[in-house]
């Protein structure tokens, strides 16, 4: 009789443990959504700049290159997508600086992030891109003429650009881009699903499908 009590209590406790674990994991998955997925970190690293609400359930991950014309041309469209779905989309910027010398611009962006001027600087960079990134005659130094437009402390920016952490972050992003088979920029992922056929309509469709799945009416 006594032995049974011990055995049954033991089994009961272990069942409680398993059940508790199951409930906890379920709750976490609900709370974190996409981020709870396996390998989610390959899409969103802690260092990645993000734009949008923390409550957003749809992660739009963009592998971009500051010197890429299509990224620049796409930027207003991405902005519009975010504005059209307030609070539901979180934009995550990942770097895939495939153009020669594009690392330089990533460093400027990351240094600007330390001054809290990341998105302003990205905007300025995209807009001035035709001047400094011309294909037959790239002149990266020309960017400095435009940077004051983002109200940056340029001296501090020049210092922060040399932070070895930025170098490591680029290496990590490039490794993730490779793992995810991103060979062209911009490379988009919506909650881990790749944009297979490139185009603005296709991106909007992919996003809207994921929003409908995450925010059922």
């Amino acid at each position: 009789m006594k032995k049974q009590v011990v055995i049954f209590s033991g089994i009961f406790l272990i069942l409680l443990f398993v059940l508790g674990g199951y409930i906890y994991k379920n709750q976490q998955t609900k709370k974190l959504g996409f981020l709870a997925q396996e390998h989610a970190e390959i899409f969103v690293r802690p260092h990645s700049p993000t734009l949008g609400s923390d409550e957003a359930k749809v992660y739009l991950v963009e592998f971009m290159d500051p010197a890429c014309e299509t990224c620049s041309a796409f930027a207003p469209f991405v902005k519009k997508l975010l504005a059209d779905n307030p609070g539901k989309i979180k934009l995550v910027i990942r770097y895939a600086p495939f153009h020669d010398g594009a690392d330089y611009f990533v460093k400027i962006l990351e240094a600007a992030k330390k001054q809290g001027k990341y998105w302003e600087t990205l905007e300025v960079m995209y807009q001035s891109q035709p001047y400094w990134a011309s294909h037959h005659n790239p002149q990266p130094e020309l960017i400095w003429r435009f940077l004051p437009g983002a109200a940056l402390d340029l001296e501090k920016l020049k210092n922060d650009m040399n932070d070895p952490a930025i170098e490591r972050l680029i290496t990590q992003d490039l490794a993730d881009a490779k793992a995810l088979n991103v060979t062209k920029t911009p490379g988009f992922f919506v909650n881990g699903k790749p944009l297979v056929t490139f185009g603005d309509t296709e991106l909007r469709q992919l996003l809207e499908a994921e929003i409908a799945a995450q925010y059922p009416r």
């Binding site: 006594k2 032995k3 011990v6 033991g10 406790l13 409680l16 674990g21 906890y24």
Partner: protein, 145 residues
């Protein structure tokens, strides 16, 4: 030594309670580390080292009815209680963290949970070691009487 049925039943119940506390604490600690993924700090590991075997030793005692189980379990409970006490003093800031040996890896004073404002993980550990220790001491006294 002949014990009346009543006394022996009471003793068994005390031992059983003791085992329950150890079992719940073990599973609880595993829940924190394996399910909630809190990395255990060095001091937590020492407490676990003293806690986990208690479940098996006490269960063996429950099955065999061997009275020496209280004496075998006591050193483990006492050692675990001491580490838990030290951990709580550290946590409360009574012992400065600079003189403790676990600055490597996970900090022993990092806040993970605090239920009702005061029940931290080290506090839970101290509570469970205290109750195990108290029950074992009581049992030991009853057996040696």
């Amino acid at each position: 030594m002949t014990l009346s049925d009543n006394t022996s039943r009471a003793n068994w119940t005390i031992l059983f309670l003791c085992w329950l506390v150890a079992g719940v604490s073990t599973l609880g600690s595993l829940f924190f580390s394996e399910i909630m993924q809190f990395p255990p700090c060095v001091l937590c590991w020492y407490q676990r080292i003293f806690l986990f075997p208690l479940v098996f030793i006490l269960a063996t005692g429950l099955f065999s009815g061997d009275k020496s189980v209280a004496r075998y379990a006591l050193p483990l409970a006492a050692a675990g209680w001491l580490v838990a006490l030290y951990h709580n003093l550290l946590y409360a800031g009574i012992i400065p963290e600079s003189i403790q040996p676990c600055s490597r890896g996970v900090s022993c004073t990092e806040d993970y949970i605090s239920l009702f404002g005061f029940l931290t993980i080290p506090m839970l550990s101290l509570l469970s070691f205290s109750s195990i220790l108290a029950l074992l001491l009581l049992l030991n006294r009853r057996f040696s009487r």
